[in-house]
Structures are given as structure tokens and as C-alpha cells.
Symmetry: C2
Subunit: 253 residues, 2 copies
DNA sequence: CAGGTGCGTTGCATTCAATGCAATGCTCAT
DNA sequence: ATGAGCATTGCATTGAATGCAACGCACCTG
């Protein structure tokens, strides 16, 4: 809607790929260098970009700090955290909490496995939306129309042979997840990693977040991991109860 | 420099305080509501803000994801991480890595204490710049003029009775830290928490990051914590060596 | 050391996009 | 029903964003 702001914001994802100099930024934006310079300067004043000693621009510290504040304001995270820790103490595996927001599912909390073999993931990172167990739960709860539209819009990268291949398969999987009230990812993202996940619901029954337990094959088999399902669901339900109980219902994401 | 972008970016810290509706945003920016609406819409298209079901605006998911990418691009973090983990395994306490960037010092990595009593901190959070041990190291390395100017510009909140009270005291402390090559924070931020920190240097000898070990009084006394200093310094030196060795020297922050 | 190339930066006239206004539409509470 | 309070829209005006061309600067090169 606002051309200038639009251009300025387009610089950020561009810099996320790596540092760039003025010329590169101007080229990628399709504007004159002087225009790009002014935009970068404004971003700089706000700490959103940083100028390295080699004159190139990077994403800045304020951006990181802002994102931090954004996450700390999520009530669901506050409420869920102790439950995640307790679950981790009980099973020892990596525990994740994720939310959905406009085409993205991202981890907002994580408790690390106590086993030496850990899976790679980071708070704030968007998850593999077509295969992750938490993503399935969050998307399965969307209104039918939105779910269909989204499924069509997504890419379906074949991380492994068991990745969800296309919109039809994905919608079928979501339907199944929706009915059973829990989800799994058995090697759909990383060949040797399995997850079980359960939904956290608000007072109105809508899914506001999803949590999962993940472990590599070398530690437990998929069957063993599935025996944790009741525990995961109980934990998710406990969070749901606390969340719907004491808060005026705000939007989840 | 660019008024429109400037206004748009000013919305973000405002929303970081908590959700706000259109009227509030317009008021705080001092612009007409229609103007604020257009700015918010543009921010929305880029995923920087999210519209809750109650119509109010929040910071958005893309912001968090961007910040994540920003941190993953920091080479120093990649290199340091395994060293931080090893140090944590050796001493059991919380280990932090921090960098300085234009008036802010922020944690870019952290390994949690293995003791049940943990200190509160989060990756991406700006640190208490006038008292934190890592901040002292990073600022002590700035050129004299910049250091003085910065010291004057800062606030000196008295978190505890041992917090740094004013610019003069701060500059004196920085001078000391600069000479001895390491720093401490003994209850300057939280009455019962102590830290020891050491600098990570680039090939040119400039301080590019700082790392610290923190522990509450109830676990170890300040004297006991100080016995870890040689270990902390060795770790920092190891990171320095690896950092200056294998990378073309980029800007630290 | 002269000359040249490749950057970032600046001042300025033009133009087009951002602005505020006023009117409209919505939702909710009384 | 009625109106208050909010978001939203179309439009005329104006002022800010734009691209150009000139400049400065550092770094090579012959």
C-alpha cells in the first residue's frame, strides 16, 4: 500500500540472505542507488540494519531485540513453559511449542533433549509446514476454505521419501489429524527423526498452539515414541486448561 | 531520512510494548488514522505485524523469523557454540556469548546452567549495558572518544547498590577492564548473581564478542566463581584463535 | 605519480505518492 | 432502535520521494 515502506521492508529479507552493499540492494529493489541509500539510512537509524566496517549492510541488533520482545509477549508461551519443562523431565526428549500465523508455523519455545544426540531446531525458526506434526495440528483446525486455499499455496519439498508430496495428500492427512486429535511426523522431515504432537486449545475449542516430543531413531523407535502419546496429550490438555481458565481470550498467535 | 519509512518503523517498538488498535497507533505517531492504517497495512503485507481477532495489531511472525536468520548468519556464534557447550560441561554454570552493536549489547548465545537455580536471560535480549561483565569488555575496547561519548549517553539505573552509578565510575571501570583483559559483575545487576567474563578477539586484536559464566550466590560464592577465570579465558582464547584463523575478517557485530 | 575505475554520497528539479479530510460502513452496547 | 466508537474508503492537495548528474574518495594500474 505504501510504496516507500514496501521497498524499505523488502530490504530486510534480502539482507537476511547475507550482507550486501548499496549497489546490490539498489539493483534487487530496482531503484536508483540514491533511493536505496535513503531507505537504508532510515532503517539504520532504527537499528534494523547495521553497517559493517566493510561498508556492507547486515540485519541489525534492534531487529533481534524486537523479535525477542514479541515472543515474550505471547501469553501462551509463559503458561506453557513450565509444562514443557516437566514433560522433558519425564521423557527426556526434545519438546517444542509452536503457533500458526498467516502461512507460517514457528517454534516459540523449546526444551532440549537430555540425550547427547540432539535434533537441530531453533526458537523463531519457521517449521517445515507440510510435514511437521505441530504444523498438521495447527492447520487442521483452520476453516475448510482457508485450509484448502493454503494447501494449494504451499510448496511440497520432498525432504525424505515420506514427506507429504502434494496438496491432496496433505489435506487428507489434515483430515485424519483433525479427527484423531493428535499428529505424528515419522521421518517426513529428517529420515531418522520422529515426533508426536498434541494441540493446545483456547476456551472456544480452537487450536491456539501445538506441542510435540521429538526423538531420533537411534534413541527410541517410532513405536516407543508413540507410547508417550497419552503423556503428551495430558500435558497439552493441562496447558489448554490453564490458558482458557485465567486469560481473557486473546488471539493465539 | 525518509519520513514514511521512519513512521512505519516507529510502529514496531510501540507494538512491542503490547497490542494496540489503530487509534492508539495513530495517536502515538501523531498522524491521521488513515495514514496509520496504510502504514500498518504495509507492515502487515510483509508479515511484520499481525492482526489479532480483536482487530488489534501485534508484532508478526516474519519479524521473529528474520531475527532468527540474522543470528544464524553471525559466524562468531557458529564458531563459539561448541566451546560454550564444553565450558558448560566443565563448570555446570550458565554460559553467555554477547556482541556490541551501536549502543546495545546483546546475548547471541546461551547454554543453560545444569543447576536447578537458573538465572533469567534470553538470547536476543539487550543486556544491562552499564553493569554486565560482557558489556564492560565490549565497551572497553571502543576508541577513547566513542567510549566517552557513549558513557555520557547512557542511563545508569541502580539495579542494586553495587550498580555502576554514573559515567565517571563507568569509564574508570572500563579502563580497569581494558588493562586486565577480563571483567566481572559482582551483584551489580541482580543482588545474588555474579559473573566472570573474557573477550573474544579477531585477527586484528579488536574485541568482537565477549563470553561469561554466571552463577547465583546460593550455588557458588564470588570467590569460587573467580577460580574459574583461567578456564573462561582459555575458552575465549580458543574461540579467538579459531575465529581469526579461518575467516576472512568481517565486521564482528 | 598521473590517470582511471568503482564505489558511496549530495543537491536539486520534477513528479508522483503520501497525507488529512470528510463521508461511509460496521459492530456493539444500551 | 439508536447512537457511540471504531475501522475504512475516495479524493483533492501538497509535500515528500525519486532519479539524475555531479562530486568525492579510495584503491589500482601503468
Amino acid at each position: 500500500m505504501s510504496q516507500t515502506v514496501d521497498r524499505a521492508l523488502s530490504i530486510l529479507p534480502l539482507l537476511a540472505e547475507g550482507p550486501a552493499d548499496l549497489g546490490q540492494v539498489a539493483d534487487r529493489l530496482g531503484v536508483h542507488k540514491s533511493t536505496a541509500l535513503r531507505l537504508l539510512r532510515t532503517l539504520h537509524e532504527h537499528g534494523m540494519v547495521y553497517r559493517q566496517s566493510d561498508q556492507r549492510y547486515r540485519l541489525g541488533a534492534r531487529l533481534i531485540a524486537l523479535a525477542q520482545e514479541a515472543m515474550e509477549n505471547l501469553d501462551i508461551r509463559e503458561i506453557a513453559h513450565p509444562h514443557l519443562v516437566r514433560l522433558n523431565e519425564q521423557c527426556g526428549h526434545t519438546v517444542h511449542l509452536a503457533v500458526y500465523e498467516e502461512d507460517e508455523v514457528l517454534y516459540i519455545d523449546k526444551v532440549e533433549s537430555r540425550y547427547p544426540v540432539r535434533m537441530y531446531s531453533r526458537i523463531g525458526k519457521p517449521v517445515a509446514i507440510t510435514v511437521a506434526a505441530v504444523a498438521k495440528l495447527l492447520l487442521a483446525d483452520l476453516p475448510e476454505a482457508e485450509r484448502r486455499a493454503l494447501a494449494d499455496r504451499l510448496d511440497y519439498p520432498m525432504y525424505t521419501s515420506r514427506s507429504t508430496p502434494n496438496p491432496a495428500a496433505f489435506l487428507r492427512e489434515l483430515e485424519k489429524v483433525r479427527e484423531q486429535g493428535w499428529a505424528t511426523d515419522l521421518g517426513g522431515h529428517e529420515e531418522s527423526i520422529n515426533c508426536v504432537a498434541a494441540p493446545v486449545r483456547g476456551a472456544d475449542g480452537r487450536v491456539v498452539a501445538a506441542m510435540s516430543v521429538s526423538a531420533p531413531n537411534v534413541v527410541v523407535t517410532a513405536e516407543e515414541l508413540l507410547t508417550l502419546l497419552p503423556l503428551v496429550r495430558r500435558t497439552a490438555d493441562a496447558i489448554s486448561g490453564e490458558y482458557s481458565g485465567r486469560n481473557t481470550v486473546k488471539d493465539p498467535a
